[in-house]
């Protein structure tokens, strides 16, 4: 057992860290203060993302046949960790979840038109899975696609379609077989250009971020925008969700929050002249965070290693998702307690601590416990796949 990065891995870590310093510049930070652009989409974001494409970063883990660098999952993890820690709103779902699926299953025209531009950092794809009536039970979705000659005609509504307000495409799951008994077996995937007539969106403001409701009204697109076989879309959806899971609970960004808070507490004097960090309750919270981070870091590294070895266990992946997402919320709370009253001061207000970063994080914390496959489902997977416990019929 050797739980340290190799020299090559360390070099990659340093390279990405330094590279991202030039990406996350003051003008980008300024642009992201606009809540419309918090998750990207502004002109500065577009410019920086395209630069990352030109510099070959987007293709990092892609196959060499597509111009990729074939990075191992461990290298991809290191990259993800550094990019996330930098604060750049990198569209991982576009580059690492949808992109490779399009490259593998898309029509020739999608590969030419879309995959290429994804690798160049010119394209952002929004995910259109959830609907008002279909969340955790995603396969119950009802957005309908009907064949009409060489085209498909799509009608329905999606909910929580993040990035749709600036995305170039929507990666859309639609029902192509109305037979209810076919649930998972009646879904097909489409890639909808956002400028297609019949597509529209309205904002949905949540506790912390903007997302969208999206509408598809007699939206007509040619068959070449279908991805994969008709009625076989479920596999493409679940394949993508699996890729997503590890990057959800990445250790780097929260480790940075811990360090920044500890540093802040060490530099912040109380009225008696002593430093905040000298208080036992502050030390207690920092220690609890550190102990939780130790486990998170090891879980992430072990999974990246297991993926590299081709031996990622389902139960372990779910355990990391549950542990990581629930620990995040706990970590925000423990760190904000250290700030006390100042922990509720938002970014850009006088007295905000660490630019209000954790104040904001706390408000988006719950999304990961119900999103990305809610934690109850993950616990079901752990007890069934990890411990062979029988499940109730559902």
């Amino acid at each position: 057992m050797k739980i340290e990065f190799t020299d090559t891995q360390k070099a990659l870590q340093t390279e990405v860290r330094e590279y991202m310093r030039d990406i996350v510049t003051d003008d980008l930070r300024e642009e992201m203060k606009n809540p419309e652009y918090f998750e990207g989409g502004g002109p500065v974001f577009r410019e920086k993302f395209a630069r990352m494409g030109r510099d070959g970063w987007i293709a990092l883990s892609w196959p060499s046949a597509l111009g990729g660098r074939e990075a191992t999952p461990m290298e991809q993890y290191i990259f993800t960790e550094e990019v996330m820690a930098s604060g750049f709103p990198y569209p991982f779902l576009t580059t690492d979840a949808v992109g490779p699926v399009l490259a593998e299953h898309g029509s020739a025209s999608i590969r030419d038109e879309v995959v290429k531009t994804i690798l160049q950092g010119e394209t952002v794809v929004a995910i259109g899975y959830s609907e008002p009536g279909a969340g955790t039970d995603l396969a119950s979705l009802t957005t309908r696609a009907k064949r009409d000659g060489d085209d498909w005609v799509i009608n329905g509504q999606k909910m929580w379609t993040s990035l749709a307000n600036f995305a170039d495409y929507i990666w859309l799951a639609a029902r192509t077989d109305p037979d209810e008994s076919k649930k998972h077996k009646g879904l097909t995937m489409f890639l909808i250009p956002a400028d297609t007539p019949g597509f529209s969106h309205t904002p949905v403001w949540t506790l912390g971020v903007r997302t969208n409701a999206t509408y598809y009204e007699n939206l007509r697109i040619p068959d070449r925008y279908r991805v994969g076989e008709v009625n076989r879309g479920w596999k493409l959806i679940t394949g993508q969700l699996n890729r997503e899971r590890l990057s959800l609970v990445n250790h780097g960004p929260v480790e940075a929050l811990y360090r920044r808070t500890a540093q802040w507490a060490a530099e912040t004097a109380l009225s008696d002249g002593s430093m905040l960090i000298s208080r036992p309750w502050v030390q207690h919270n920092l220690a609890r965070v550190k102990v939780g981070l130790d486990a998170l870091r090891m879980m992430c590294l072990k999974q990246a290693w297991a993926m590299t070895e081709g031996a990622l266990g389902m139960a372990e992946a779910s355990a990391a998702k549950v542990y990581g997402t629930e620990f995040f919320v706990e970590l925000y709370r423990l760190l904000l307690e250290i700030m006390g009253q100042s922990g509720v001061i938002c970014a850009d207000s006088p007295g905000a601590v660490l630019q209000g970063d954790i104040e904001h994080r706390y408000r988006v914390g719950s999304i990961l416990t119900f999103g990305g496959g809610c934690n109850e489902i993950q616990r079901d997977i752990i007890s069934a796949a990890g411990l062979w416990m029988p499940r109730a019929e559902r």
Binding site: A262, H284, A287, M298, A319, Q378, D380, G386, P390
Partner: protein, 366 residues
């Protein structure tokens, strides 16, 4: 980065499982527990004969020199089987006697490897924090060092040829070896939760051999013992969790296995997460110790996870078992008793959290 076990480590696990598995059936454990001491002499000799007692000792002392990380694999199996063998006090103490004592102890160490001699370590004092400077005092005169003080919950002290003891000298904390059979040592048997034989040990001018007066060595000794307890907790918790999974999969109420109630499945799934976290932070600490790198933060982290996970997994396991879980005719109870013991051995979660917090303060204060 490599999380896999080496071939020799896999062999150690297999061998340990074979020897321990054969002799830790509930009936066998019950017989041992009717003795005055919860110690299986035959099993100990079998471990010696297989070479496992020397797993981490150098070849010169009759060992296999596989290192601390591999010793931990044996300890984990002892946890998994709650085998009545004192691997932690004997083998971790032997490691430090070898590292710090040098050739003077070659024959003692060779006797440890062959199962003839037992050793122990005394880390707790009544009324003192584990990681604080001990109140036990050491004074040197022409004849050598003498120790005064009281240690508590010293494992198997009555049967040992030597006990490692930390004491305060004028120059700071130091590590000593004392012979518990001399008449300046008073031992009183303590009945403790896990029913290992433990002792209140009073030292009244006891002659002692200085092993090291380097504070870092004393810390390394504490770190290694701490991680050894954490490792045993991995085995104990893993087994409790698996017993809970299999029992609830069989046990029927309302016409279905109780495991099919989502609340039950999730409680056991939470144990899985706890065990995974505990295992990983413990492996991290063991790997650092094995490589001779600074390991105190990692050891404290492992101990805090130990305190939390042993408590949670034990309570969840008892709960999902219902009455049978606390019945002394069903094997779970031993694991619960050991879980409790390990939770409070070498420092509780609260104490270790305070300790780690202080370290964080100094790390961030310039």
């Amino acid at each position: 980065m490599d999380f896999s076990y080496t071939e020799e480590q896999q062999d150690v696990i297999k061998l340990a499982q074979q020897i321990l598995g054969d002799q830790t059936e509930p009936a066998a454990l019950k017989l041992i527990e009717e003795q005055r001491h919860r110690f299986d002499e035959k099993l100990w000799q079998d471990l010696a004969a297989s070479g496992l007692l020397g797993v981490a000792l150098s070849e010169a002392n009759g060992g296999m020199a596989f290192g601390f990380e591999t010793l931990c694999l044996l300890i984990e199996e002892v946890g998994r089987t709650v085998a009545p063998v004192p691997v932690i006090p004997v083998l971790v103490s032997a490691l430090f006697l070898e590292q710090l004592g040098g050739e003077a102890f070659a024959s003692t160490l060779a006797d440890v490897a062959t199962g003839k001699t037992l050793l122990s370590s005394a880390i707790s004092e009544p009324g003192a924090e584990v990681r604080e400077t001990p109140t036990t005092r050491a004074v040197a005169d022409e004849e050598g060092w003498r120790l005064w003080g009281t240690k508590t919950c010293v494992p198997i002290a009555e049967h040992c040829a030597g006990v490692l003891v930390a004491a305060q000298t004028q120059g700071g904390v130091a590590l000593f070896l004392v012979d518990p059979t001399t008449d300046t040592v008073t031992l009183q048997r303590q009945h403790v939760t896990c029913s290992e034989s433990q002792y209140l040990m009073e030292l009244e001018g006891t002659a002692a051999t200085l092993l090291s007066d380097v504070a870092a060595d004393v810390t390394a000794w504490l770190d290694a013992l701490t991680v050894a307890y954490a490792t045993m907790a991995v085995g104990v918790c893993d087994r409790m969790m698996r017993m809970s999974a299999s029992y609830t999969s069989e046990r029927q109420q309302f016409g279905v296995p109780v495991a099919t109630f989502q609340a039950v499945g999730h409680r056991v799934a939470d144990c899985f997460i706890d065990v995974e976290c505990l295992r990983l932070v413990t492996q991290q600490a063991a790997s650092l110790i094995d490589q001779g790198l600074p390991a105190t933060d990692a050891a404290l982290s492992a101990k805090i996870w130990t305190g939390d996970a042993t408590h949670r997994v034990s309570q969840a396991s008892q709960h999902v078992h219902g009455g049978i879980g606390v019945d002394r005719d069903y094997p779970l109870f031993r694991y619960c008793l050991w879980a409790r013991q390990l939770e409070l051995s070498a420092g509780s979660s609260a104490e270790m959290t305070a300790c780690l917090g202080k370290r964080i303060e100094s790390q961030f204060s310039s």
